[in-house]
Symmetry: C2
Subunit: 226 residues, 2 copies
Amino acid sequence: LVRLAGVHKLYGRGDNRVRALDGVDVGFEAGKFTAIMGPSGSGKSTLLQCAAGLDRIDAGQVLLDGAPLHELSERALTELRREHMGFVFQSFNLIPALTARQNVELPLRLAEREIDAAAIDRGLAQVGLAERGGHRPGELSGGQQQRVAIARALVARPKVVFADEPTGALDSRTAREVLALLRGVVEEHGQTVVMVTHDPVAASYSQRVVFLADGKVTGELFEPTA
Amino acid sequence: LVRLAGVHKLYGRGDNRVRALDGVDVGFEAGKFTAIMGPSGSGKSTLLQCAAGLDRIDAGQVLLDGAPLHELSERALTELRREHMGFVFQSFNLIPALTARQNVELPLRLAEREIDAAAIDRGLAQVGLAERGGHRPGELSGGQQQRVAIARALVARPKVVFADEPTGALDSRTAREVLALLRGVVEEHGQTVVMVTHDPVAASYSQRVVFLADGKVTGELFEPTA
Ligand SMILES: Nc1ncnc2c1ncn2[C@@H]1O[C@H](COP(=O)(O)OP(=O)(O)OP(=O)(O)O)[C@@H](O)[C@H]1O
Ligand SMILES: Nc1ncnc2c1ncn2[C@@H]1O[C@H](COP(=O)(O)OP(=O)(O)OP(=O)(O)O)[C@@H](O)[C@H]1O
Ligand SMILES: [Mg+2]
Ligand SMILES: [Mg+2]
């Protein structure tokens, strides 16, 4: 479904130049749950952003169903993301002025799709926030905000969900509920999930773990157990 | 050093009213390392904000060395926080327009204390970011930003450090380095650390764990092991 071939990504210029991705070759199959692990600063978020077409790459190719993303116009790329991708950002990126419910509805509004109030209720309930739909992000705890971001990424049933440390702000019991939810969309709806995590328990919910260090893939593990 | 006696904290009005703290009695002794654990939304961040005088309480008292915080003026409270407290926020709260180095210097500037460039270098090196002092928060990964926030909270050697999930964005190796640093300021400099965490490994670095649920202290554990 998504493939990165020889991808390089550089930030900054001259002295401050940082090579975030250093020739990454990795593929993510449709209907599979993959985890990405690696030290802080190793390029995990950058890999996710490039795979979703949110960041321009400097060399190599990113292919979605065989078609190279970098040949698409900005408009076509945005269209594609709206139709087929869900994203949980490491810093949540919720809209402060909107309520939790409105934040969850946003992907459907942007894709000009019908908003089914019952589906939004279910989405909030699945992450344990049925009662809090009317609160804005500033009125929610860190973990509650993260769960709103997860509900938002899932609501439009995207082909592929990119999740950047989706359980980072959650206690272990709440985290297991969210991980079971992500595993569920893979097993029951055949969606694809690519999740960055530092937590070995979270990684154990995936079917494959890819390890990253200094912008390179250094290994992978199939059917991990915690 | 810091005591909360019968503390209640409510947010919102009418239907949306949320009771974040529901009669909390807890003390933090000088020179000790205490962890606070509990489910997402149970009141951990609120407890930390109220203990540091960053949030007004609705009932009860917060005492610092026996003196009630709520009797102090806003100015005196700010003065006290600048002199004696360090804070690592759950969402880092770095100033985007300042470099990592300038963010770390900020507590010293605000307290109108002399800035020792070597101390700032040491602070950044202790969290593994000696090379990144010239980068702004937007040019750093999630875990790197969190480490800048930790260096900032420690630089002025405050009597008490409040840290809200300081290893939430870190891989296990980097997290252990940060936890050893926090344990070090307690054992070597006699400072007090109060840390909210979801991670049992992080809690095992503390000398006591306080458990919170639905805004109430439900138990405590001394000398926890992972
Ligand atoms: N401004 C606000 N308005 C309404 N409710 C609020 C506000 N701030 C916090 N709350 C609520 O108070 C409760 C406690 O929040 P707090 O941030 O202390 O939780 P927490 O234990 O830190 O959770 P987490 O582990 O998710 O960070 C939560 O239910 C939260 O939604
Ligand atoms: N705009 C930027 N300018 C300069 N360097 C950057 C920029 N964005 C990211 N980087 C650097 O690229 C490297 C990879 O960053 P990335 O955010 O992908 O790491 P990560 O693996 O997600 O780390 P973490 O676990 O801390 O979130 C880091 O060294 C980071 O500082
Ligand atoms: Mg990251
Ligand atoms: Mg919190």
